[in-house]
């Protein structure tokens, strides 16, 4: 009988420890600003089932460096999380999808954009009230702040983050850095209404050379992210990030040898420069774009 009681006691403490254990994700910036920029994409996490191949791929293509963290989840369990740096700056993270214990971790591989919000509880309410879905409730991730995983009203998943010490300051993306983020919904106007309500940003459009309109959301006059009606037939609504490169053709040429795939070949952009859509070794899609910064243009 005493043995039973002791066993129950041990189990209780194990369960309590499990329930209270939170991942301690490091801050997204080395230099906290104390300022919040709601609606800004402040971070990018790569979920990949091929972490080593992904490190080589992105390291060779864009010059990224990976710092393994080995986050402690309690009871001797660690999760392989890596910080990604480019030219010394923190730009994202990478998590091993094999640890999610799903039947096919390859299907989970994706880039997750992380959007800044001033109040994560209110933001989660807005997502749900606007037809979106909560995948993971707001979770305290220590130095990083509070993070929630959601889907917009058309099924594109992304994360919300209320940083603990403020968001990274706006700065111009160097070659190899994150240049732009874009959501690819089935209905741009619906998506614009969803994200305008969520972020408080202003919706705007820019006429394209072909007579169409490019939709984007901005804070004051600073563009934060774009909305483009599903440009790829085979893809359901999703977020896609753009990496700044100097010569898209030269980068695309190396994709296959590094284990990735070119999904859409290099093409001329209406607004100038070139772009291509590629996938890393895990299948996670990302775009590359050349970008000539105008002297008077504002930093992203």
């Amino acid at each position: 009988m005493r043995l039973f009681k002791l066993f129950f006691l041990v189990l209780f403490f194990l369960l309590y420890g499990c329930a209270t254990q939170q991942p301690n994700l490091p801050s997204i910036t080395d230099t906290p600003t104390g300022k919040y920029l709601p609606g800004k994409i402040v971070w990018h996490d790569l979920i990949t089932h091929t972490p080593e191949a992904s490190k080589r791929f992105y390291g060779e293509l864009f010059g990224w460096e990976f710092e393994d963290q080995g986050l402690d989840f309690g009871f001797g369990r660690t999760v392989n999380y890596s910080l990604i740096r480019h030219q010394g700056e923190l730009i994202g993270g990478m998590i091993d999808a094999n640890l999610f214990q799903r039947a096919n971790p390859a299907e989970l591989s994706q880039w997750v954009v992380v959007m800044s919000v001033a109040d994560i509880d209110k933001a989660v309410d807005v997502v749900q009230d606007s037809g979106g879905k909560l995948l993971t409730a707001a979770t305290d991730v220590a130095d990083r702040g509070r993070l929630a995983l959601v889907e917009d009203s058309q099924g594109a998943s992304f994360a919300l983050l209320q940083t603990r010490d403020g968001d990274p300051a706006d700065r111009e993306a160097p070659p190899g850095g994150f240049l732009w983020d874009e959501v690819w919904p089935a209905d741009v106007k619906l998506a614009s209404a969803f994200y305008t309500r969520l972020t408080g940003l202003q919706s705007d459009t820019l006429a394209t050379a072909g007579g169409g309109e490019y939709h984007y959301l901005k804070s004051a006059e600073k563009p934060r992210f774009g909305l483009l009606q599903q440009p790829v037939k085979q893809l359901s609504p999703t977020w896609t990030s753009y990496i700044r490169v100097q010569q898209p053709a030269a980068v695309a040429e190396r994709v296959a040898e590094l284990g990735g795939r070119v999904l859409l070949p290099v093409q001329d952009r209406d607004a100038g420069g070139q772009a291509a859509l590629i996938a890393g070794p895990s299948g996670a899609g990302i775009a590359i774009q050349s970008w000539q910064q105008a002297p008077s243009a504002a930093a992203k």
Binding site: I47, Y214, A271
Partner: protein, 59 residues
């Protein structure tokens, strides 16, 4: 006798419930509930069709 067996059964059942609760500890939080990605749904079916000529940073 019946009460004793019932009590033991209840204890074992409770124990099993608590042990199964420990399974949740294996799930890394936050991204543990991520769904299949759009790119994952697409599979490895070669090149896709479409254009991003009007996408990307514009200003």
């Amino acid at each position: 006798m019946f009460q004793l067996w019932f009590k033991r059964l209840a204890q074992v059942a409770l124990m099993l419930v608590m042990i199964s609760g420990l399974y949740a500890c294996n799930n890394p939080q936050v991204y543990g509930s991520i769904g299949v990605s759009s790119y994952g749904k697409m599979g490895n079916s070669g090149r896709v069709s479409g254009s991003i000529s009007i996408g990307g940073r514009i200003r």
